[in-house]
Every structure is written in C-alpha cells, then in structure tokens.
C-alpha cells in the first residue's frame, strides 16, 4: 500500500518544545508558595522500628512538617497488589525504605532536617536471595500477604515468601520427556538493571480549598495514578485531578505513585503545594529495577535434534514489596517466553516471584524477556554443541511455526521467525573467515507479543477546523502522539498539521496508559475507527451545507468539496460552524482489547565481537538486528525504538548492574552504575523483514520491546565463540571475562 502520511519521517509533535526547553516535566512544575519534601530512608534491611523522635527536626527553622506513619492513615499502596506502606509502619524491609518525611521551604533545609530525626531500630533476620527466601527456615517478610488488597489468590503458594507462583504449560511435560532420548539441564542467573531514565521520579501535589488533590507526576499511566493516589490517601477518585506533563523516560519503570502520597499528606498538613524529586541515588537504592532471576532449564531432545520437552523454573527476586508489578498475576509475564522461539510440543514453565530484603523490583522494558532469553538462547548452543549439531541448524530444526500453540495459550499466525533469523545471518559475517583469533560471533532470537489493554479517546472537530484527539496517554518519548496524528491524517485524509493530539488524562476515569508496546495498537486502532466515524459526521454536516449527498463530499487539502465541482467547497472551520452544537462532531469512546493478537513480532540478532585475552575487554565489532515488521507508521520513531532498546540491552548484557551486598546497593550514582555512553555503541546494521501484516493500524506491529531482548544472549554466545568461555550469569563484564580466562589458563587448558 502507498500512503501519504503513514510511513513519513515526521519529527515528534513535542519536538519544538523539547529542543527549546519549553516542555514541562514534573520537576519543572513551579507553583506559588511551593515547598519541598525529602524522605528519611532505612539504613537496615529488616528491622522493627522501636521509636522515632522527630522533635529536633520539627524545630529546625524552615521546616514546616515532619510526618511518620503514625500521622498517616493505615493504608497500603501498589500498582496492583497493595502491599507497600506509604511510610514504614513498625517495620522496615529493605535498605532505602521510607521511614519519615520532612517538608521545608527549601530542599536543602529539608535534607538537613532529616539528619536530626532519631530512629531506634531492632534488627531482624534478613534474607537477600530469592532461592534462600523460599526455604522453610527463611524469615517471613509478609506473613499476611494473602490479605493484601488485590493479592492474586489464584497464584498463592505454600512456599515461604512466594507471593505469586504462575504456571504456563502446553502439552504434557512428562510425556515430552518420555519421548526424549537426551535431557540437558542448565541454570542461569541474571541481575538487577535500573531503567536508567534521565529524569528521576518526581511528584507535585497541591490540595486546593475544596480538598481536591492536584497531581503532577512522572507516571505513564496517569489515569491509574489518580485511582492509586485516591486509594493510598483515602480520597474519592474524583477528588484527584492529574495534570499532564512530559515523562522523562519510562522504560516500564514509571507507573507507580512513588512519593505522590507523601506530597499529598504534606500538602494537606501545610496548606502549600509540595514537590518531591528523587535524587539518582534514591533511584538506585529504592527505584524499581529489573527483577534478578534464576532460570533453571531442563530440555528433552530426540536423537534427531528435535526439542520435545522444555521445562523452566524461573525464580524472580521481587525485593521487599511486590507493589511495583503492574499485572494482575503480580509476577513477571515475560517468563512465559522462556521456551524461546521454538515450537516445542511439551512445555511447562513455573515462575515464582519471591519477597526478599532487597530493593523492590519492577518492570523494565520487555519485563522478564531478556532474562529468560539469555537462558534459553545460551542453552540451545550448549545442547547443540553437546549433540554435535551446528547451533544455527539446531535452532532451525526447532523454530515455531504457524498454528503452534505457545505456553501462554497463543496459537500463532503469520510466523516469520525463519525469515527474520535468516535475514540476520545473511546480513552478518556469519560463516566468513575471521580477521583475528579472538573474534567471535553469536546469534540469538526472541519474540514479543503486541500488548493488549484498554484504550480511551475523544476526537472532535474544533471551531478552527482542526481535528483534535484527546488522549489520556501521556508523552513518554516514544512518539505516540505523533503516531496518532499520522493515523488520523492518513485515515481521513487531512494535512497532518490539521490534526492535533493533546494529553488530558484528568478527563478519563480508567485507562491502561502507555506500556507493553500497546499504544499504537490499542489506541491507534480505536482512534482510526473514531476518525472514520467523525469523518462520516462531518460529511453529513457538509452535505447539508453544500446541498449534496454525503457520499459526494470529498476531502482535498483539508477542505470539504463536492465531488466534481471544485467551486462548491467549505473549509473544515466552516463545517464546524455549520455543525456547531451537533453532538456527532465530538466523539468519545472506550475499547478494551483483552488479549494479545495472534500475530506476534520476532527479532534475531547477530553479534560479532573481539575479546582482549589480556584484559577481558569485549569490543563489539558489529551488531545485526533483524526485525519482523509490518507497515512502519513513523520511521524515525520506529528506528529510535530499535536503536535505543538495543543499546539498553547491551548495557544489560555487559555493563550495567545494581550491585547489592546484603541488601545494600553499592552502585549509588551514575558514576558507579554505568549507562552506555556515546562511545560504547557498536556499528549497527538494522534489517527490516517487512510484510504488511499486523494487527495495529495500517497493518503495523509493535517494536518498542524487541531489540533489547536477544542481545545479551547473542553476546554470551559470541564470547564463547571467541574465547571458549561460557557465561551462565550476566552481565558479562571485562572483569568476569578476565577472571574466567585466568581460571581456565590455570587449569592448564
């Protein structure tokens, strides 16, 4: 298909505001009489709070309020399960948990006052490892977890500290293993990764004279944030009014209230608007990083190299609270892709999410996927080598096909993994001679569903003739508003400048917001249908004014014209005037897409790298990232998702780790927690395997959570190819490679 607006490289609609500094993020909100809040955090991983003395802090000049849990209603909060206190009540469960909060005229004064608060603790036994926490003698962090609001009863477990145990299966795992001639078992571990957004969490709350709480928050689900805040502070939802702001990077992590309930209580207490901005140190010690995971795989293979049984036990370290998980299972959905891109007939996957005295974990771009993909894509290489089969050939024998049933209940259509994988291989140096002895190549592949959820929108013809889309979905940087503008302009058709998109989350009561690679699909599809409906209404109004049939009205250059008579024409502003007051010129709708589409998206990546055997340093020489795509609505944004996700995945695979020792984070600023910088990026070749089949508007597909996933596994496989050392845990840092090489050499190999 050829399109006029779809497929065009339009810059983001927020562009001019963002490049001039005019765009407003939460921390930029400055209100008259605004004051600042700062929190005191626990220095202990597990302790009973014996007493808190706030007198000295209260008396400090410039301090306006000091609150502890005793000053607040006894509520819990969270994205689904409400298990997280607004301030610790009697007990702290991780280093960094909030214990008290100060409001002051100046943030530095608030910070100083924290030092004057005396807390007496009585230490309790703590557990820092999810596997240890599941053992019978482990200290119980949440003995009453079954009674927490929205705790998922269906997934309760008898095991200590396991707050959610989900099983996905297809076929009969016992029968599968009975068919296998060989069985392989491996265990892999992955670490904690921070989302790494440049904007730390921020909130501003101003309680007005009628008791309404006005909220500005770095939250990609602002409608949900209204509900969560209302519940957390015991207000009716309609008393919370969220104001739109730009979100300075989300990557899955910005869906919680974070400090907003504290801002509310401080504002209510002082009668002043209150701002709280986390420092990056607070982000790293008490944000909501990616779940560390232990992934144990058991794979049954026939002598012909066909995988017939696949069993995975995935243990996620949930940290001290499960409240950052946004899905009803209160677990990590990506675990259900642990069997990889293979059409294994008998699969059983068990995912355990476990409380520990560590930083609470949350969602990070493609939650669960990079962890389990590292495991399955490493294991495929190990099995192939053990069986004497070429690893690529072994993969090809087992690829998922049309009609295969996945463990999550999906029966796939239009499966394009084979083409995607082959395109990656063909575009790389695979099979060619290597320039140096320590050069290695590795491949890995993954799939990612296109997200479901609830979409809401309003679309109307404005008096100036523009078509305006009102959406509750904020701008998180993905270009969602630009995509919606393109969808409307193409559907109508209208000049793109005649379409405006505005975020007004406060006008909606429920909405799924941004996440799960959902927006282009669920919101785009809804807005496309609504555009057609509004257009039909506009045609009817124009036809009356132009004295013709509605079917005769055509749109050219943003005008309504009677087909064949170019002199009988109206601007859309004139149509708006003619139809003034007509309800059909303003449409509002909700649509719920409960399930992921049967069409999914595939990614295959090839990494070529060189290992310095003296230092262990890895230099990536080239990455080929191959994507199964449909129509691309905005090529700038589409590419940005691929590039950005890939570099984030390289960070996960090689550089980044929230290092914790006995619950104490030691990477407490961005000097220690290394995000990839501009010199860390490798030469990149992107291959788009395109076919116009997709569930999103104009046969498009999701892209946001694809490139981040296989890269760590591809790096691990390439390192093995380069120097013969296999890594079972991430990240693969130079230090780890160095140590592994020394160990191997000292063993005389």
């Amino acid at each position: 298909m050829t399109y006029t607006v779809v497929g065009k490289p339009l810059g983001q609609v927020e562009g001019p505001a963002k490049v001039t500094g005019a765009a407003t993020f939460t921390a930029d909100v400055i209100l008259p009489e605004m004051i600042w809040g700062k929190v005191l955090r626990s220095p202990l991983p597990h302790a009973r709070i014996v007493s808190i003395d706030t007198k000295a802090a209260e008396q400090m000049p410039g301090v306006l309020a000091v609150l502890t849990a005793r000053d607040l209603p006894d509520t819990l909060t969270g994205r689904v399960v409400y298990d997280t206190p607004v301030l610790a009540r009697d007990q702290v469960r991780f280093i960094g948990e909030k214990v008290a909060v100060v409001a002051a005229e100046d943030p530095d004064v608030a910070e100083d006052a924290l030092a004057l608060i005396e807390v007496e603790y009585q230490e309790l036994p703590a557990v820092f490892d999810a596997e240890e926490a599941m053992k019978p003698d482990a200290p119980l962090l949440h003995p009453d977890y079954r009674s927490y609001p929205h705790a998922p009863e269906k997934f309760f477990s008898e095991l200590p500290n396991v707050h959610s145990h989900v099983t996905w299966q297809v076929g009969d795992i016992e029968e599968g293993f009975a068919q296998a001639q060989q069985v392989f078992e491996y265990t892999f571990t992955t670490h904690s990764q921070h989302q790494g957004f440049i904007e730390p969490h921020a909130s501003v709350v101003s309680v007005d004279s009628e008791g309404r709480a006005h909220l500005w928050i770095s939250n990609k689900m602002p409608v949900r944030a209204q509900k969560l805040l209302a519940d957390a502070v015991e207000l009716p939802q309609e008393q919370v009014v969220v104001h739109p702001v730009c979100i300075g990077g989300d990557f899955g992590g910005k869906g919680s209230l974070m400090d907003a309930p504290l801002c509310y209580h401080l504002s209510k207490r002082t009668g002043r608007p209150v701002k709280m901005v986390m420092t990056y140190t607070e982000e790293l010690m008490a944000g909501n990083p990616r779940h560390p995971a232990t992934i144990s795989l058991r794979t049954g293979v026939t002598d012909q190299g066909k995988v017939v049984a696949f069993q995975a036990r995935v243990v996620f370290d949930s940290g001290a609270y499960a409240g950052f998980k946004p899905v009803p299972i209160v677990n990590i959905p990506g675990a259900n892709s642990a069997a990889g891109v293979y059409g294994t007939p008998h699969v059983k996957i068990d995912a355990y999410s476990v409380y520990t005295n560590c930083v609470p974990s949350g969602h990070v771009r493609a939650p669960g996927d990079p962890q389990v993909t590292f495991a399955v894509e490493s294991s495929m290489e190990l099995i192939a080598e053990a069986m004497g089969i070429d690893p690529l050939e072994f993969r090809k024998r087992n690829l998922v096909q049309d009609g295969d049933l996945l463990p999550d209940g999906h029966r796939l259509e239009h499966v394009r993994i084979r083409q995607t994988l082959e395109a990656a291989i063909e575009s790389s140096n695979w099979g060619k001679p290597k320039a140096h002895p320590h050069v290695g190549r590795g491949v890995a592949a993954s799939y990612r569903h296109i997200g479901a959820g609830e979409a809401n929108a309003e679309i109307r013809l404005e008096s100036d003739g523009t078509v305006k889309v009102i959406t509750p979905v904020p701008d998180t940087g993905t270009g969602a508003h630009t995509v919606l503008q393109q969808v409307v302009a193409e559907t109508w058709p209208l000049p793109v400048e005649q379409v405006q998109v505005e975020a007004r989350p406060e006008l909606f009561e429920t909405d799924s917001g941004a996440g799960a690679s959902r927006v282009t699909y669920v919101v785009g599809q809804l807005v496309k249908e609504m555009t057609e409906e509004l257009r039909a209404s506009v045609c009817r109004v124009a036809a009356t004014a132009l004295e013709c049939q509605a079917e005769e009205v055509v749109f050219e250059d943003g005008h309504c014209t009677v087909k064949g008579s170019s002199d009988r024409t109206l601007t859309l502003a004139q149509v708006a005037e003619a139809g003034s007051g007509k309800p059909e010129l303003s449409i509002r709708k909700t649509q719920v897409n409960r399930d992921n589409p049967q069409v999914t998206t595939f990614t295959a990546q090839v990494v070529e790298l060189e290992v310095d055997p003296e230092t262990g340093q890895i230099k990536i020489l080239e990455v080929v990232t191959s994507h199964d795509v449909g129509t691309i609505i905005n090529p700038i944004g589409h590419r940005g998702q691929i590039d950005g996700g890939l570099v984030q995945g390289i960070g996960f695979g090689m550089i980044e780790e929230v290092v914790m020792e006995e619950g104490q984070v030691s990477t407490l600023h961005l000097g220690d927690y290394k995000l990839p910088n501009i010199k860390d990026i490798p030469p990149l070749k992107t291959v788009l395997v395109q076919e116009e089949i997709g569930p999103a508007p104009f046969q498009s597909k999701a892209i946001g959570e694809s490139s981040i996933t296989p890269i760590a596994a591809a790096i691990a496989n390439a390192v093995y190819d380069a120097v013969g050392v296999r890594f079972y845990n991430l990240p693969i840092t130079a230090e780890k490679v160095y140590r592994a090489l020394r160990e191997r050499d000292s063993n005389g190999e």
Binding site: A27, A113, I198, E199, K679
Partner: protein, 163 residues
C-alpha cells in the same frame, strides 16, 4: 549545617544575554539558581554528580555541568542555557536537526545535548563521527542509543550558527 546561619552572596551574571543580579545562598547550585531563582527550567537535573550531562550549560562558551557548579561561580560570567539557543523564535539548526533526525525521544537529556552540540559546532563546524563521540561523551541518553543524535549533529554541521 543546619545550625549555621545561611550565608548569602550577591551575584551578577548574564544569562541568555540578559543581566541578572540576585542574592543566593552560598551553597546554592547553579542548576537550582537557573531553574528556581530565574525560572529557566529548560536545564534538567539528572544524576546530580556531573555524569549524565542533562544539566549542561555554557559558561563563557564552555559546556559545564550546572549541577556541580555553585551559583557563586557564575558571578560575572556569561551563561547560555537551552532557552538561549533559539533566536527570536526561530530554532537553531541544531535544534531543527534534532527534530528531523530523531535526536531525542523523551527529551530529558535534550537540553544538555543541544547546548553541548551547539558548542561543538561553534568550535568545529565539521566534526568527524569520532570527534562528535569524543565531544558528546559527557551527555547520556537512554532513549535513542545515540545513533540518531550523531546524525542530528551531522545534519546541523557544515554551516555556521544562524545566530
């Protein structure tokens, strides 16, 4: 310290061509002075330790981390923030190029990126890719993976600033 009386100093500085004279606490950071005393919230604070570059401003033409500089250091200096890059409502070439090439997504690193890139092109109108990487090393971006940032700067290279 809490017990000490806060010391203030009077500073004079020129920000985006405009003279300011103000009393600031001696420990006031330049980033807070710009954002909260002068209302120029375009400059962002990310890491607070001089690593991410979101707070970059030009002091007498040189990029600095305003989260590490005290406001008093800016006394007598000329500061340019992201708000001072466009002239008379017209975007600078660097700014337009960031829009056209997808040099940002969320926009929180963008003010620092734009300011740093403008300084690069003022010093070196035709930088090589390696020179771009060397110069931009102190500016982190989590959204783009940097490829489109490099292209944005290349797209704005070759001609003098519109200013």
């Amino acid at each position: 310290m809490a017990s000490e009386k806060t010391m203030t100093r009077t500073i004079r500085l020129r920000v985006n061509g405009k003279e300011h004279s103000l009393d600031v606490p001696s420990r006031r950071l330049l980033v807070d002075c710009l954002r909260y005393d002068l209302g120029l919230t375009g400059t962002k604070e990310g890491c607070s330790v001089g690593v991410c570059g979101a707070c970059t401003v030009l002091m007498d033409g040189q990029p600095i981390s305003s989260c590490l500089a005290l406001a008093v250091f800016a006394d007598g200096k000329e500061i340019v923030t992201v708000e001072g890059i466009a002239r008379e409502g017209k975007l600078d070439r660097v700014q337009q190029s960031f829009i056209d090439h997808g040099g940002f997504q969320c926009g929180s690193c963008t003010p620092g990126m734009v300011v740093t890139a403008r300084a690069l092109l003022d010093a070196n109108p035709n930088p090589s890719q390696d020179e771009i990487k060397e110069w931009m090393l102190g500016n982190l971006c989590r959204c783009t993976g940097y490829y489109q940032i490099i292209e944005s700067i290349q797209g704005a290279a070759g001609e003098a600033s519109d200013a």
